[in-house]
């Protein structure tokens, strides 16, 4: 909407409440879509809500949702991290390979190594983006290839096989309570903490401010470079963590692990209501976006649709989400335009 329209509306008048409401709805809307989707699928194929199936969906969504947390931090500050898939792959291989190389290595150490690898990758991404001022999209497009290249050259033709992993490690994905894997619960808690932190700490709000208006952020003295750097480092560390979890889920790790994840994660983030040019959206929304994508993939399978259609549906959902946003925004502008004169004092 244009500010001319708003000029005649008294501040705090009802059109704004309408705007606020719609923006809040946008975050919850995804949950509604999710419920409708599950209901429809279940009515056609009742086995869809079986425990095994739920577990599969949740595990699948867990990694994407975790990656989406880091990606959300980067995207709200008007940047992008395309390297998460490669970071996940490198971390998955190097960390799980430790079990074969160092006999009896404690699982927490393996996690720390994985997170450390992601951390280093994040530092590189963040430093080039924030301090050398190269657009993060380009930087991480480059590191997507570089890190994957490093991954391939380390692995050679080999792979980590499930039999080399300790039982406790492989059990991370399988232990569950009433069908919900423990790891999913842990990730959900991490995402909740992340969402709350982005909302309630200065550093978090400043990421939104940077994404909302970078020039104004500079004028009020927000340390833009430091904040963007931190976002990339956290996103990297999270991708590293996700790599270790990935290895525990799948057992077999070769050089293709995590290929293409970055685009799915960005899709989840946008479907989950995070503005692609920064400034708004939440990590919880992004996590629900990941859950929705995962549910759709499984539902298509359950309904007997060829899994080859899966990417097409993800794309369709992305277009729908953005079109819906745009449609709501235009509709809202039109409504407020027509209200302009009625609210004239």
């Amino acid at each position: 909407m244009s500010s001319q329209d708003a000029a005649l509306v008294p501040a705090g008048g009802s059109p704004q409440r309408l705007v606020d409401m719609v923006f809040r709805l946008r975050e919850y809307g995804i949950i509604v879509v999710l419920i409708i989707f599950i209901a429809v699928t279940t009515s056609i194929q009742p086995r869809f809500l079986g425990e095994q199936n739920i577990k599969f969906v949740l595990l699948n969504a867990t990694i994407y949702a975790l990656l989406a947390l880091g990606e959300t931090m980067v995207v709200v500050s008007r940047q992008m991290d395309l390297s998460v898939g490669s970071v996940l792959g490198l971390s998955a291989y190097v960390s799980s390979n430790l079990f074969g190389q160092v006999h009896g290595i404690p699982i927490p150490v393996v996690f720390l190594v994985g997170i450390g690898i992601g951390f280093v990758c994040g530092v590189v991404n963040g430093a080039i983006t924030a301090f050398a001022r190269v657009p993060g999209l380009v930087v991480t497009l480059a590191t997507l290839y570089i890190i994957r290249g490093v991954d391939i050259s380390i692995i050679g033709g080999g792979e980590v096989v499930a039999s080399s992993l300790p039982a406790h490690f492989s059990a991370i994905g399988s232990d569950s309570v009433v069908g919900v894997p423990y790891v999913t619960i842990c990730v959900a808690i991490v995402i909740a903490i992340g969402t709350y932190s982005l909302r309630s700490f200065r550093a978090g709000r400043e990421l939104y401010a940077i994404g909302s208006n970078p020039e104004a952020a500079r004028l009020v003295g927000i340390p833009i470079a430091r904040r963007v750097f931190s976002a990339y480092v956290i996103s990297g560390a999270i991708a590293g963590l996700a790599g270790v979890i990935w290895a525990s889920f799948y057992g077999t790790v070769d050089s293709t692990a995590g290929t293409g994840y970055e685009l799915t994660v960005v899709t989840a983030v946008v479907v989950g209501g995070v503005a692609i040019f920064g400034g708004s959206g939440s990590a919880a929304g992004a996590a629900f976006g990941a859950l929705l994508l995962s549910t759709i993939a499984t539902a298509l399978y359950a309904l007997g649709v060829s899994p080859f259609w899966d990417p097409a549906f993800d794309g369709l959902l992305l277009v729908l989400a953005i079109t819906l946003d745009r449609g709501i925004a235009l509709r809202l502008a039109a409504v407020m335009r027509k209200r302009t004169f009625r609210h004239e004092p």
């Binding site: 708003a6 000029a7 409440r17």
Partner: protein, 559 residues
């Protein structure tokens, strides 16, 4: 006196003695000759002036933006700062804001020499700057916008949203405006954005407030409200630096004025005893001859016929004509629908009802291509965003609308393009470095000439111009005016112009149409028109609005 304290803007301190000299909160009716002495009197109790900037220089590469920047602010005064574009005002503001570090010079705030190496340092010494381009975060709430970077915290270093909302409610109350702290800033009018910035300054307990062109995008009654707030702050002892292109506003709200030219301090004087021409001469360094419109143009046939044009919720039943060789000015308040009518004529916005015809040919709704083909040129109000491709060469910008004439065998020939551009650049006396340089290298006035050149290259029969001289310095402004007059008189171009500056409206219009709340409410011929009549028609009031200077302002680009 409380004024002397380092935080005279403290919300708890009540207006002190000097407020008695005037009606509280009404600053705009006329000059205040007695106030200057009073302000000087206040200074005695204080530890000298609020802020002194002396012989400051700042260069960006080979450009000497500031050669000798000096200014002195007193507690409890509103100090005007005027100068043409490029005089160094913005650089001076950015130095006070801590955005730029000066190359040399001295800055003393409240008796202490300071070095402002960042916005935080500037805030720490009690300076609040309200920037020209309002620095709003559209996705954050009003309260967050106000408190960004210094939010009140509760346990665990979490932001205390409750306290934040309460504190800003107090500040907003004190300003006597309605602004919900919890709403997001997206969609706030420019006036409300400015109120928000002022609330920020107040909550910072800033004792020195710098306002960079605060009225550029405000309507008359919003300007009134702003001036009341400025006067309130001044009476509480705040030092206000007020920068404006509109000289009458400086006379209305300021006690002293500093004039800058070419990065140098020209003079600082009390406004009592000065007239606008003194300032203009000092700004330009010579006398500006402002020729009144002759009205000798040959008015020809109807070029533009707008018939019962409506767009729901924006404007209703607008009908008028513009003839060949005629300049018609659309005046009115912000949001009265002037710019929207222009956009609908050119086909940027669709119309819901009515018709637009050029030389008898009816234009399709919502089709700028149709409008251009029919000979309409459109110079939008925001030339940087809408009028030019800033990152494109000057010659290509000029050629942008004339590609069909510059094509040979289906390709655009660089040589034809350059010759065409060079021709128009010299006809409009464009001042540029290289034609292959980006449009962004030009000054504001020359950018406007560039937009004009683009359309003149097509020999338009109708030129629609929204705010032709906004943000353009005095000398170039006169040049643009002469250019438009010549186009009408000599080339027979029909010109529909939107303007928010009354002197411009009075000077340029063969006819003046006034819009209010989406409707055409008055029409004046060149001999009938007067400031009072326009203001009365635009506000729907009677002649009591006569003291206003500028009818209104302009809807800014969307936030």
């Amino acid at each position: 006196m409380t004024v002397a304290s380092p935080t005279p803007g403290d919300p708890t301190s009540s207006p002190h003695g000097s407020a008695d000299q005037e009606e509280e909160g009404s600053s705009i009716d006329g000059a205040q000759p007695a106030v200057v002495d009073d302000v000087l009197g206040l200074g005695e109790g204080a530890s000298g002036p609020a802020l002194v900037l002396e012989h400051t220089t700042k260069s960006f590469g080979a450009v000497h933006a500031l050669v000798d920047g000096s200014i002195e602010l007193h507690w409890g005064e509103t100090h005007g700062l005027v100068g043409e574009n490029g005089a160094g005002k913005s650089t001076l503001v950015k130095i006070l804001a801590g955005v730029h570090l000066p190359d040399s010079g001295r800055l003393v705030v409240n008796g202490r020499e300071v070095r402002l190496d960042g916005p935080a340092a500037s805030r720490a010494v009690g300076i609040a700057v309200i920037h020209q381009e309002a620095s709003v975060f559209p996705d954050l709430s009003v309260a967050e916008n106000v408190f960004i970077g210094r939010e009140p915290l509760r346990s665990g270093r979490r932001i205390d949203f409750k306290t934040m909302n309460e504190e800003i409610a107090v500040v907003v109350d004190r300003l006597g405006v309605r602004l919900d702290p919890r709403r997001i800033a997206k969609g706030l009018s420019v006036a409300d954005q400015q109120i928000m910035e002022i609330a920020k300054a107040l909550s910072l307990k800033a004792s020195i407030i710098v306002m960079d062109e605060p009225t550029a995008a405000l309507s008359a009654h919003e300007v009134d409200r702003l001036f009341e707030i400025v006067e309130l702050l001044r009476c509480e002892g705040t030092a206000v630096l007020f920068i404006s292109h509109r000289l009458q506003e400086v006379f209305d709200v300021c006690q002293r004025v500093t004039v800058m030219r070419d990065g140098r301090h020209v003079f600082t004087k009390p406004l009592a005893g000065l007239v606008a021409d003194d300032l203009v001469q000092a700004m330009v360094g010579r006398e500006v001859v402002d020729r009144a419109a002759g009205g000798s143009q040959q008015i020809g046939d109807v070029v533009l016929a707008v018939d019962h044009l409506s767009r729901e919720g924006v404007f209703t039943d607008v009908s008028f004509t513009v003839r060949s060789g005629e300049i018609v000015v659309l005046a009115g308040l912000v949001g009265s629908g002037r710019s929207e009518v222009a956009r609908a004529i050119f086909g940027i916005d669709r119309r819901d009802a009515g018709s637009v015809s050029i030389n008898g040919r009816r234009l399709r709704s919502g089709s700028p291509i149709d409008a251009i083909a029919a000979g309409v040129g459109f110079v939008p109000e925001d030339r940087r965003q809408q009028g030019l491709v800033m990152a494109m060469a000057i010659d290509r910008n000029i050629a942008l609308a004339s590609h069909d004439h510059l094509k040979r065998k289906g390709l655009i020939w660089g040589a034809l393009e350059r010759d065409f551009a060079a021709d128009w650049a010299s006809r409009l006396r464009l001042k540029y470095g290289k034609l292959s340089g980006n449009a962004s290298t030009l000054s504001g006035g020359n950018q406007q000439k560039l937009v004009l050149a683009k359309w003149l290259g097509r020999n338009p029969s109708l030129l629609v111009i929204d705010e032709p001289t906004r943000g353009i310095d005095v000398a170039t402004k006169a040049e643009v005016h002469r250019l438009l007059e010549r186009l009408a008189a000599e080339e027979g171009v029909a010109i529909l112009m939107i303007s928010s500056e009354l002197p411009e409206v009075l000077r340029m219009g063969n006819r003046t149409l006034v819009m209010r709340e989406g409707q055409l409410v008055a029409e004046f011929s060149h001999s009938e028109v007067s400031e009072e009549r326009i203001v009365a028609a635009a506000t729907g009031q009677h002649q009591d609005a006569g003291s206003l200077v500028t009818t209104d302002a302009v809807g800014p680009g969307a936030a």
